[in-house]
């Protein structure tokens, strides 16, 4: 048992040293994230195909999204990625638990702010404008022949951003657990694996949004489309 007591806190016996344990941890998380890339990738591939088939309808739909909320939510998410990285940095550099908890709380607040802006303002406005398929979607006559496929764009929009939001909600739950762990001094300069892998997950969800934002809100249709008002 004497040899064991020499081990750093949080060290698991099956590893050679902390370095190997850290590498195994982030490698394992990346393997999971690769499955997530394929998970979202299927949706992105489907989006590309249907966008190419019904380009005009998708451009009409894209124009109806609230780009100001999309852009500010992107900024909120990037800021939450920064605070997440700083929470890990605080643990890595052996800072006191208060600093770790502070950055985790900031990350959670920014994450909840993102969801709040999206659900309470954006989706509520979409509902009021009858843009949610299945909840009184109204095809407007000014869309012309392309109007019949505008609901398909909104199905993509709600499913993709909804799946992204679900990942955010899960991430927020994990952040709460991390706060309690940090409060119990579980992390130190050598062991902070839960923070590190949660950070990887949080940044991945950020990257998904980095692609959703231009694909849904921006491309094709923000400037005037001939024949559509």
């Amino acid at each position: 048992m004497a040899a064991h007591s020499a081990h750093p806190e949080g060290f698991a016996h099956q590893f050679e040293d902390m370095e190997q344990q850290r590498e195994a941890g982030s490698l394992g998380m990346w393997v999971f994230l690769v499955t997530e890339i394929m998970f979202f990738g299927g949706l992105f591939a489907t989006y590309i195909i249907y966008r190419s088939l019904y380009l005009h309808s998708f451009e009409i739909g894209s124009r109806l999204l609230k780009v100001d909320f999309g852009a500010s939510n992107t900024a909120v998410l990037i800021a939450s990625s920064l605070t997440m990285a700083l929470a890990i940095h605080a643990a890595q550099s052996g800072k006191k638990k208060n600093q770790q908890i502070m950055f985790l709380v900031l990350t959670l607040v920014l994450g909840v702010l993102f969801l709040f802006l999206k659900f309470n303002f954006e989706w509520r406005a979409d509902y009021a404008e009858h843009l949610i398929p299945g909840f009184g979607f109204i095809i407007r006559p000014e869309w012309g022949a392309a109007g019949s496929h505008v609901p398909m764009f909104f199905l993509f929009y709600f499913f993709m951003t909804g799946l992204h939001a679900m990942h955010m909600i899960i991430g927020c739950g994990i952040l709460v657990v991390l706060m309690f762990m940090a409060g119990r001094n579980r992390f130190n300069g050598e062991y902070y694996a839960p923070l590190e892998v949660t950070g990887l997950y949080w940044h991945f969800v950020d990257i998904v949004w980095i692609f959703l934002f231009p694909l849904l809100y921006l491309i094709g249709g923000r400037f005037a489309i001939p024949g559509v008002h």
Binding site: D17, M18, E19, R22, E23, S26, L27, W30, V31, L33, V34, I37, M38, G41, G42, F44, A45, I48, I49, S52, V67, A71, T74, A75, I78, A79, S81, L82, M84, A85, L86, H89, Q92, S93, G189, E190, E196, G199, L200, H203, F204, D206, I207, I210, F211, F213, P214, L215, Y217, L218, I219, G220, R222, F223, A224
Partner: protein, 123 residues
């Protein structure tokens, strides 16, 4: 030996760069960059707004992956796994599109009736 600690200054710099790129991509969406005509089948018309938006998104993704996710300082094994992930995503998208975009290239064989003259000839 402890892991590579990225300085706070780097994190803040990346954060500012990401915000600038977000502003850039939002602004670029309101400008009509037009289309590029290549004359290549399937890639005849390339909407440059899409190219600009995706280029900025890829740049932002690389900043997040390399610095926020510490991949710049990760082992070669981790890097290979990540590249393999994106490689399989490329296969998923490109092979699906290879089917979908080329369907009109060959005539539809139609029903078995189209085979009848051939069958009669054999008999």
């Amino acid at each position: 030996m402890s892991a590579h600690v990225v300085p706070v200054k780097t994190y803040v710099g990346i954060f500012v760069a990401l915000l600038v790129l977000t502003g850039l991509t939002t602004g670029a969406a309101f400008v009509d960059f037009g289309e590029l005509h290549t004359g290549i089948r399937l890639l005849d018309v390339i909407p440059l707004n899409t190219v600009v938006a995706l280029a900025i998104a890829v740049a932002k993704m690389l900043l997040v992956i390399l610095f926020f996710m510490h991949v710049k300082y990760s082992s070669g094994l981790t890097k290979i796994v990540i590249v393999a992930g994106f490689f399989f995503l490329a296969i998923l998208v490109s092979l699906t599109l290879a089917d979908e975009l080329t369907r009109g290239w060959t005539p539809n064989p139609g029903a078995w009736g189209a085979m009848l003259p051939l069958v009669r000839g054999l008999l």
